[in-house]
């Protein structure tokens, strides 16, 4: 019999209840006649404050509040992939059966009980099972083998009985240990508590994104954390969706946290038809979507990122590389601020609660590349990619700054680039990565020692451009040398052809490392060819008719296999054209 309290005050999503028994911090309650789900967030004597995950309008003073004694948890098991959950883990497709709108108090199980899974055991009676270790597996989609595990917080045990290979569903018993404990397909885990692992591993493998500017200049490590801040209209969502589509993670957990409903719809409509570039299976098979749009209850927005992280950790424990993307952290922080305001807490910077940084750290620090607990041979990782929406595009605000302290890669989106329709609008002057050193080994092995030189060539030209443009502002273009004029043009080509990438073009949306290297090499050879001619006395104006841009655009659109031969051919043509230009003697 659960403990019952009663409602004494209501203010938006915060409900105050009177109790006559001890309660736990963050304990789950069912508030009011409609049994709305909520969480205890403050205890003061005999009254407790509860954040309610659903719209409270119509709730009355005096209505009952049921205290469960448990913390907010989510059911983990096969069937999470490809599903769309709300901020507290209810599948939206099942809620949809009840109407267009999300009704209140609906109690729907996260996983589908009617689905059958094909179970193959790996343990036999008498075998020991460590916490987090698999007793067998079921295939989830075509690629993922879902490990059925002993919950990682339990004690080891010996198998007494295990189910034979065959079709099973959620309520079937799969394994009984000698001490009487039972293992089924799913187990529950408290979302605010990180799942344990054996130990952390270094950041020496990259999370490849297929985006040229990111993979060449600001690469991110598997298990690392990246922040994408940008004002509205700078392409945060398009960038995140590109990453969700093309990055080399096995599983993507995408959290639409306080953003637009139509964006979630877009993902839902587009992803099932897209193919994974690495394994050629539908992208939806590796996605878990958590949708808590801006008009859905604000407290559930706060919970949604912990829910997403718990699901990510669950798949990490099976040995997969998981990327978790939250769009956007600012909306989550605003939810904290709103709840804090309703509790009349003393505000910190810009009205955000003083514990903003601590809470963010609790989220970011659950990322990492690790050896899992159950099997010392397995490694898994969680990479965090969070969008931040700073008010007015001002990066000095608290959410951006707190996120920066906790992350290793900063991809700064720039409004003026977006206005020039330069996408992805990532500013190459402000952005940085801290994983450069630890990843250099991987890149050298994969792309050769030349890669470092090529990267340097690119960044050098870009910084040279900045200096030259400042000079032009002072002395005008005529004051520049022929070589400098060419440098300006070359860096424009870099920007238009290399740094810009069309997310809506079927070939250009994803670029392999090899092609990035090929493009850079082509540009470097081009630079050598042109500089040579300029040194011989050709004037910059004489280059006006050479079709650099159209040629490079065409090259960019050529699929991988034919790329290097086409690039060679094009360079040869350019060389011929350049040779045909006569040196004017002045």
């Amino acid at each position: 019999m659960a403990n019952m309290g009663r409602v004494v005050g209501i203010s938006g999503p915060v409900v105050r209840a009177a109790v006559a028994f001890p309660v736990r911090m963050f304990e789950i309650v069912r508030a009011g006649k409609e049994a709305l789900l909520g969480e205890v967030i403050r205890i003061r004597g005999n009254t407790v404050d509860i954040q309610v995950y659903e719209e409270t309008s119509g709730m009355r003073v005096g209505e009952p509040v049921e205290f469960s004694g448990e913390l907010l948890s989510v059911e983990l098991g096969p069937g999470l992939l490809g599903s769309v959950l709300d901020g507290i883990g209810r599948p939206l497709a099942r809620l949809r059966e009840e109407g267009l709108y999300i009704s209140r108090g609906a109690n729907v199980r996260t996983l589908d009980e009617s689905r059958k899974w094909h179970f193959s055991p790996v343990k036999e009676p008498g075998d020991w099972v460590r916490p987090g270790e698999g007793i067998g597996s079921v295939p989830e989609g075509t690629r993922i083998r879902h490990r059925v595990m002993l919950a990682p917080d339990s004690l080891p045990g010996r198998v007494d009985w295990i189910a034979p290979e065959g079709e099973v569903s959620l309520h079937d018993l799969l394994c009984r240990l000698e001490d009487g404990r039972e293992i089924r397909l799913s187990h529950r885990w408290e979302v605010r508590r990180g799942r344990p692992f054996s130990h952390r591993l270094p950041f020496n493998r990259p999370l490849l994104t297929g985006q040229r500017i990111l993979d060449t200049l600001f690469p991110m490590a598997l298990g690392g954390a990246a922040v994408i801040p940008g004002g509205f209209g700078t392409g945060k969502t398009v960038t995140q969706q590109s990453l969700a589509k093309w990055c080399n993670a096995d599983i993507i957990v995408y959290i639409g946290c306080g953003e637009r409903g139509n964006e979630m719809t877009e993902v839902l409509e587009e992803f099932p038809s897209l193919m994974d570039p690495y394994y050629n299976v539908p992208l939806m098979e590796r996605m878990v979507l958590i949708a808590n749009t801006s008009n859905m209850p604000v407290a559930a927005r706060e919970a949604s990122i912990y829910l997403g992280m718990t699901i990510a950790e669950y798949y990490r424990d099976m040995g997969y590389a998981v990327a978790i993307m939250a769009d956007s952290t600012s909306r989550w922080a605003e939810a904290l601020r709103e709840i804090g305001g309703r509790l009349e807490e003393m505000p910190g910077e810009e009205g955000y609660p003083a514990y903003l940084g601590t809470r963010l750290a609790q989220y970011y620090e659950r990322a990492g590349r690790v050896r899992t607990l159950g099997d010392p041979e397995t490694e898994g990782s969680i990479s965090v990619i969070n969008a931040v929406s700073p008010p007015g595009g001002d990066f000095s605000e608290p959410v951006t700054q707190s996120s920066l302290r906790l992350s290793g890669t900063f991809w700064a989106l720039d409004k003026s680039l977006a206005q020039q329709r330069h996408f992805p609008a990532i500013n190459w002057q402000n952005s940085y990565t801290l994983y450069d050193e630890s990843l250099s080994g991987f890149f050298a092995q994969e792309l050769g020692e030349d890669w470092k030189a090529l990267r340097f060539f690119l960044s050098e030209k870009l910084s040279k451009e900045k200096a030259l443009l400042e000079l032009v502002q002072l002395v005008g273009r005529d004051g520049l040398s022929e070589q400098d004029k060419w440098t300006l043009m070359l860096s424009e080509l870099f920007r238009v052809v290399f740094l810009q990438q069309n997310a809506f073009d079927s070939v250009d949306a994803f670029c392999s490392l090899k092609k990035m290297k090929g493009l850079l090499e082509t540009l470097r050879s081009l630079d050598t060819l042109v500089s040579e001619r300029l040194a011989q006395g050709v004037l910059f104006e004489q280059l006006a008719e050479v079709p650099f841009r159209t040629g490079l655009f065409r090259l960019r659109g050529i699929p991988d296999p034919e790329f290097s031969s086409s690039a060679m051919k094009w360079l040869a043509e350019i060389q011929k054209t350049l040779r045909s230009i006569e040196v004017v003697v002045r």
Binding site: V61, I102, A335, G341, E344, G393, R421
Partner: protein, 463 residues
């Protein structure tokens, strides 16, 4: 039907637009109340309950309200709006009562004004092109059915005129019926309201719409209600009756100021510029009530108008709106001062859903590349204008002079269309006309074959 009513005469205090009542038994959050005073009735809504103390926001304002002799009746229901097909062609006040002198017609049912969040799984992506007849929107920042696309304006800029023009001209190509207009005037002046209504009457939109008018002189608290009434009515027409509905809300700045007023009276912790911390969620609860859903022909398209104080796009109201809406149309004072109408500055303007509604099979195949080409060329010309100020006319090359000429032609003929309605084809022709200022080798965003098919002997495209 309730058999008994509960009334309380224990008014504890009146703070700004709020009425505090004590001793209330089992007050409901968001509950509607009737306030009876010696000189008339008012309505209100419970904003906060703390034990037996209730804070009630009074929609009519608290001016002249007695602390004694006032009875507060609990209605035991949330605030609802009556809906029915008979609403078409009606002008109502900011609380949904007839303002045109006629009685309220047949009411089909009442709907809660707050609505419920649409299940994202139930939505379909908005993807049908709306032809607004305005070149800068149709060709470069395309509006699609079910989008929320605000107009960011400055004081004195013709946002209302543009909104009225969009209402007048908008069509979904291939559909017989035009949009039903639901109009929410939020704290606008009597003059602006008159202009809108006259314009709607002249063009016939009046018979095909529902109009909620909250004037600047009306109570500020009422402004919190007006857009919600309008959106509930819009949802009724769209999702229950299958109409395409165009909701125009002007001006959202006034709405947010009313929100701030109530927040201040409740002594809440203020956020940026004194606006409450929950303003994002509150605005989202309005803006997100747009879209298309599975299995339903109708849609809700929103055009909110937001005045940027001091033309500042980082003002919290403008900024938060920009984060929720799907793009923005930005009006520019500089263009307006030069007599260009509509003064749309395309560079900061954006339509996020544009790509869904354009291209082969929807509009024309080259739609996206034409928009990109115009953006790139216009951005370049603006940049060169700035450079010209530093290095002078002589410092620019021949090509750069042509870019500057393009920029002028673009503003003069493409942007500056006046009150005329341009079909998409006419907009496209006009854009080719402006691109003729550039050598065709610069038109690298457009498909090569297309440029060549229009290229004359002198290396430029023909208008």
């Amino acid at each position: 039907m309730t058999l008994y009513r509960e009334g309380y005469r224990s008014v504890q205090g009146i703070v700004g637009p709020l009425l505090m009542v004590s001793g209330v038994r089992e007050a409901g959050f968001g509950e509607k109340v009737l306030i009876e005073t010696p000189d008339g009735k008012r309505t209100g809504q419970v904003l906060q309950v703390d034990g037996d103390l209730c804070a009630i926001q009074v929609f009519e304002g608290t001016m002249g309200l007695y602390s004694g002799g006032t009875t507060v009746w609990l209605e035991r229901d949330i605030v609802r709006v009556p809906v029915g097909l008979s609403l078409l062609g009606r002008v109502l006040d900011g609380r949904g009562r007839p303002a045109d002198g006629k009685p309220l017609g047949f009411v089909e049912k009442t709907l809660p004004v707050n609505g419920l969040p649409l299940n994202p799984v139930a939505r379909t992506s908005p993807n049908s092109f709306v032809e607004t007849g305005i070149s800068t929107i149709d060709l470069m920042n395309t509006l699609v059915r079910g989008q929320k696309l605000p107009i960011f304006s400055g004081a004195g800029l013709p946002a209302n005129r543009l909104a009225a023009q969009i209402v007048r001209q908008s069509r979904v190509p291939g559909k017989e019926t035009s949009f039903i207009v639901v109009f929410a005037a939020i704290g606008i002046t009597a003059r602006e309201a008159r202009e809108f209504l006259d314009d709607f009457e002249k063009t016939g939109a009046l018979n095909n719409g529902v109009f909620f008018i909250n004037l600047a002189s009306d109570s500020a608290v009422e402004r919190l209600l007006t857009p919600r009434l309008a959106l509930s009515v819009a949802e009724y027409f769209a999702f229950e009756k299958g109409y395409d509905v165009l909701v125009v809300m002007t001006d959202m700045l006034h709405y947010c100021e009313a929100l701030r007023e109530v927040s201040a009276a409740r002594e809440e912790v203020p956020g940026r510029r004194g606006f409450p911390g929950y303003m994002y969620s509150d605005l989202a609860s309005l803006y997100e009530r747009a879209g298309c859903v599975h299995g339903c022909a109708g849609s809700v398209t929103q055009i909110p108008i937001i005045t940027m104080p001091d033309d500042d796009m980082t003002h919290p109201v403008v900024d938060l709106s920009g984060y929720i809406t799907e793009g923005q149309i930005v009006l520019d004072r500089n263009l307006h001062d030069r007599g260009i109408y509509p003064p749309v500055n395309v560079l900061p303007s954006l339509s996020r859903l544009m790509n869904k509604g354009i291209g082969k099979g929807r509009t024309v195949a080259e739609h996206r590349s034409m928009a990109d080409q115009l953006y790139a060329a216009y951005a370049r010309s603006r940049e060169l204008e700035r450079l010209k100020l530093i290095v002078g006319e002589e410092g620019l090359s021949a090509l750069e002079h042509r870019y500057i000429r393009f920029g002028m032609a673009f503003e003069k003929s493409f942007v500056n269309q006046g009150e005329t309605r341009r079909s998409l084809d006419q907009s496209l022709e006009t854009s080719w006309g402006t691109l003729a200022e550039l050598p065709s080798s610069e038109l690298y965003r457009l498909p090569r074959e297309l440029v060549e098919s229009r290229m004359g002997k002198d290396g430029t495209v023909k208008p």
